[in-house]
Symmetry: C2
Subunit: 334 residues, 2 copies
């Protein structure tokens, strides 16, 4: 394995940081994770990342001479040109010179950083089902909802690095739920994992204790999460199916906007909630078909990522592989 | 003027076809128009265009040797690569080989064709207020509503040439008006000139005959059009102002979708209804500010074209000037 070339992927997530070596085919050779401690300063967190990279290299029997580069996902707003994490709201980190901190350890090493959702989109483009499309919309449906645009086989970030904000498209104008962003009726406030769990809790509070939905959760002593609601839906509990139907309809509304504006080749989904695609997809499609024009748009492929659990890590590594396979990542709009 | 170089712009509109010579600064040197007769076959219509180009050349004292090329706007779906008008629904024309028909008259002449809305966007980019932006959304608000995207100083047409369909974004999910496209609640069905006139007629039917709104139209024996409703609003008639307020709110909804997805540098509007921008703009902005994230997006410039009545003709000519000033028009997504 000593002559093998690899890329380091660093996926700094809200709860854990996953680091691994990813080879040219997108396979994860080794990986190692540790909790993201928001009590750490960002400098200390990056230092922990550096130590973990050394551990991964040792595990793989490689030195940094085998590295093609380092790709870093950050959970927030990034300036990819300068390699700076501008703002990670959950941790309160601001203006962290991620690239510079890593370059101190490995001078001359190619290092690219990006927002995690954009990195996922790029990973999908290079190693996933997105390979077959020139343009697509990537959507992560998880605790929150994020989106990334691939246009002409490039990440498209927009004038202020905030393109693809699918989670904050308003899908309910009349009586929208309050969103974390301060607006009302955002997709994230109606169809994220958090929103699905909240809808289920409200339904439980409103239903009699002996209803099938209530009984399901009480008997199993299950926490109410998007996942447990999905399990109930798969078991045939009507109220649980309705919650996913409603979420699917709202996702369909947001997709209709993106489709009419972008006319992408496909929409590709990832994230925990998207795994329940068969509960969602009929309602997503039914809704956007009433709200887009042209047959081509009505038949837009809605797909699930095939990169699985390591999608974000592969996404991080793809920030370097993009330079090799596609050419330097161009900020299209600058 | 004999050594002056110019581009022929051909703007085939629904009711008239406008042909002119446009110089390198975007100035219209001469122009000539004739009615678009949908009873004509498309071949006969193109023949009339050819004759009119000859008239324009004669008027300007030029020959075709002075021409840098010919740009043609078509009112429908175009395939710019092949130079084919795929479908002009209003005339029933399909698969018209516009470029080939013109090349028979002028072999070797550079000829580009595009959908009229996309051409307007390009005209704005090269000769208008769009010069200062790398990316913007162009929106024509007229009898109908159309949109064109400029990304990275190129027309972005999407996978099937149908990106930028702002007019068919659903802005009213609950009780939407029926749109010409067959869907309900499209922006075009709520805020186009046609929709504004329809709303005014419905309001007139519902109001007593001696209401200020009714009196305004009855006394003046005015036809009810978007323009006459705007005049009433400028005269302070509340009901007329409300119609524009409602239209502005719906335009704001659609713009919020485009802004969250594309994060463009600006939105630039043209078309008859957009001239009433001061009736619309406060409500457009108020609405999209409640529905986009980030300060940059909330402060998105909403601008009116400065190319005036000849915007579409200049747009047609810019299909050729784009090759000269920006480089060959690239279909970004193919």
């Amino acid at each position: 394995m000593a002559d093998q070339k690899a890329v380091v992927g660093i996926d700094i997530g809200g709860t854990k940081t996953l680091i691994g070596l990813v080879d040219r085919t997108g396979e994860v050779l080794v990986k190692q994770q540790f909790p993201t401690m928001i009590t750490d300063s960002p400098e200390i967190h990056i230092q922990k990342c550096i130590e973990t990279v050394h551990i991964c290299l040792a595990k793989a029997g490689l030195t940094h001479h085998s590295l093609l580069g380092i790709g870093v996902n950050v959970p927030g707003l990034a300036d990819p040109e300068k390699g700076i994490l501008l703002h990670a709201p959950y941790a309160g980190w601001k203006n962290v010179p991620v690239k510079e901190l890593l370059e101190r350890e490995w001078p001359g090493m190619p290092i690219n950083i990006a927002n995690d959702v954009n990195a996922c989109a790029l990973g999908e483009l290079i190693f996933g089902i997105g390979k077959q499309y020139n343009s697509f919309l990537w959507v992560t449906i998880s605790t929150g909802i994020g989106g990334g645009l691939i246009i002409d086989r490039q990440i498209y970030e927009g004038e202020h690095f905030i393109a693809g904000e699918v989670g904050h498209l308003v899908v309910q104008w009349e009586e929208g739920n309050l969103c974390g962003c301060g607006n009302r009726g955002c997709l994230e406030a109606h169809a994220s994992g958090t929103a699905i769990a909240k809808a289920a809790k409200e339904k439980l509070a409103a239903l009699p204790k002996d209803s099938p939905f209530s009984t399901y959760f009480i008997e199993r002593k299950k926490d109410i999460t998007a996942q447990s609601v999905a399990e109930a839906a798969y078991k045939g509990i009507e109220e649980a199916k309705e919650i996913y139907q409603q979420a699917g309809e709202y996702i369909g509304r947001a997709f209709s906007y993106a489709i009419n504006i972008m006319n992408p080749g496909a929409i590709i989904m990832g994230g925990g909630v998207s795994l329940s695609i068969d509960l969602l997809e009929p309602y997503i499609r039914q809704t956007f078909q009433t709200a887009v024009i042209s047959e081509a748009n009505k038949n837009m492929p809605i797909l699930l990522t095939d990169l699985g659990y390591e999608a974000a890590l592969i996404g991080a590594a793809s920030l370097i592989y993009a330079d090799i396979y596609i050419g330097p990542i161009k900020e299209m709009n600058r």
